[in-house]
């Protein structure tokens, strides 16, 4: 099992869990009052889509996928994140 777990994606998983816990702190925990909602909300979305890219590139193996597929994914990230932010900040 050791050789299977000793893979760089284990670090990606730890980073994802850490970012999730930080987001929760920022949105609902002790840190929630430290930041204005108008600042916290876009930050939460940017962190979420950063996590989405980590899952896409390293878990879904899009990092080494054919370029058109990789670009479609990247485009989805930009459009989905952009649309939410633009609508939210209006």
């Amino acid at each position: 099992m050791g050789q299977v777990i000793r893979h760089y994606t284990t670090w990606i998983w730890l980073l994802l869990v850490a970012l999730t816990t930080m987001s929760w702190e920022l949105g609902d925990g002790q840190a929630a009052s430290a930041l204005a909602p108008t600042l916290a909300a876009p930050l939460l979305m940017l962190v979420a889509f950063f996590k989405v890219r980590l899952v896409g590139l390293h878990f879904m193996e899009l990092r080494t996928a054919p370029l058109p597929l990789r670009l479609l994914f990247e485009a989805w990230v930009v459009v989905a994140c952009g649309a939410i932010l633009v609508i939210y900040l209006q």
Binding site: V4, V47, A48
Partner: protein, 201 residues
Amino acid sequence: MSGLELTADTPVAGRRAERHMPGEEGVWVFILGDMTVFALFFAVFAWYRGVDPALFTASQQTLNAGYGLFNTCLLLTSSWFVVLAMNAARRHLNNQAALLLVLAFLCGLGFSLVKFLEYGEKIAAGLVPTTNNFYMFYYILTGLHFVHVVIGMVVVLFMAHRARRGIRGGGDMSFLEGGASYWHMVDLLWIVLFPLIYLMK
């Protein structure tokens, strides 16, 4: 690029020249289509939130973000188990691959139990889809996602069965890769839903 055929033994961290499609093309058409539908839902949710931010923020306060946090971690861990299972399958460690996929399935089961607990609490408190726009979206978005979780859990079980038997041909690997990509998509969509519904004020 097309001249290089990848085998199950080829390490994933390949060079640029060895780009490899994880799973069948059809699976990816479905995954990207699904992601696009969800992106539209995200935008519609954000739009309606903008119409009545006070209602959405007040309704959000009645949610338990702890459930959302726990469930996000369950799906992330489940996805990680699937990645490890793919590593094991490529090394022909069939039993390890199958075990890791069963663990991934159990994380999905945990997610489902938390979801039932959460829905039960909300319904008991009289918070149903007809309560207001926030709750209508809460049930539609999390419900639609939950359908994907249930389908994914079945797929992961089939993957465990296939992995245990061992990879005999390119078709086996392609099936595992396609299933893994679908399960990661389920995780990926929840990564956006969690802050969107539970956290953003």
